[in-house]
Subunit: 221 residues, 2 copies
Amino acid sequence: MVTGFEQNNYGRPEVPDVVVSRLPQYVRTLTQLLAEGVQIANSQQLGEKLQITPAQIRKDLSYFGRFGKQGRGYNVDHLLEELKQILGLTVTWNVAVVGVGRLGRAILNYPGFTPDGFQLVAALDDNPELVGHDVGGLTVQPVAQLGDVIQRHQVSIAIVAVPIAYTQEVVDRLVECGVKAILNYAPIMPQVPDGVSVRNIDPLLSLQSMTYYLANGSTLE
Amino acid sequence: MVTGFEQNNYGRPEVPDVVVSRLPQYVRTLTQLLAEGVQIANSQQLGEKLQITPAQIRKDLSYFGRFGKQGRGYNVDHLLEELKQILGLTVTWNVAVVGVGRLGRAILNYPGFTPDGFQLVAALDDNPELVGHDVGGLTVQPVAQLGDVIQRHQVSIAIVAVPIAYTQEVVDRLVECGVKAILNYAPIMPQVPDGVSVRNIDPLLSLQSMTYYLANGSTLE
DNA sequence: TAGATTGTTAATCGATTAACAATC
DNA sequence: TAGATTGTTAATCGATTAACAATC
């Protein structure tokens, strides 16, 4: 059926990925405004903070409901709570880190995820020199125990920091074990079936696209 | 002047950012094919590897020249060299790391940038307990010396790993000092003038967009 | 009520894809 | 030459922006 706008099971138009990817930025800005004591903000003001047109903000929000008041704007506190609810940020998510090499250890020792509701609950690696040892307060488990660990800790998100040669197979294992969200730090884009999300953290790609502009001169040079 | 397609100084149509951002992935795939001994690849085969339509690959490449042969495809080695040239990846780029906290140290000790032509040549921090100490083979310099260090080491790219509260001012300083490419690890999107590139490494935003799909059910569930 | 700003529709813009003549 | 695949133009698709009636 082609209707021009696809419908999901709830009779609402499907939300484009690009819209979903902006919502966390809205949450961040609203959190900041709240901390500054700002109670009301209109789409114009939010747009300035976010470097986005006011029209886009209103359009994005309209996928999820009507959160503003005409003539006034948005209640910062209320909109923030609604967006957190929509994004699933009102609950804690249990996260497993697979790969406890240099990068994995840095991630396990990084305190930045926990305050935002992402709890690192398990660390796995296949290196016998690491298994059983404590890293960032967690005992490293063998990857063979993956299914077990995921179930026991109710893990729904995995952070993958294994060498490139093992990345796809680790991702496959995670998918088999029912993990539906994967944050991958290896410089490769793992394939996953529909219904599983992957985000890649790939600073090298970022550097390599910036050199294009360095090498070819910037817009107004 | 509005002609429907903007022209740069060289009389070619302007290359969209989204095209430039795909080129490093092409380079990566071609490098892999070369290592496997593949000499010729057509857009169909490249598309499968990259999960991109063949039409898009041909279109992307057409912004830069004609690199293929009809009836045959692309010479892997030749296309790779051309793309590296276009992206400025045939030379070494000197990189300064600003911020030598936990994250900055992890970056300075990460060996993954160097083999790809990004040489970490300087480390800066304002913490007196760090200045003068060796981190990853570099002596930490005070941020006050920024201009000096950049000039002396011919730095053209900066990696910023300072606390969020200092990020914008550090970025401003870098811009003043003539840096035109910045890789930022703080969870904030710094503002820069035209002609300066910024890429943000922000794993938290990635996690927070994936939870949307976890919380709201995947496409086919 | 008058003024302001939302929510939403329609217009625009830009990127992706399809199609095919050119050509290896 | 026949077959295959590029490079490029035109069609399609989807996202952004403008405009404005609804309404606080």
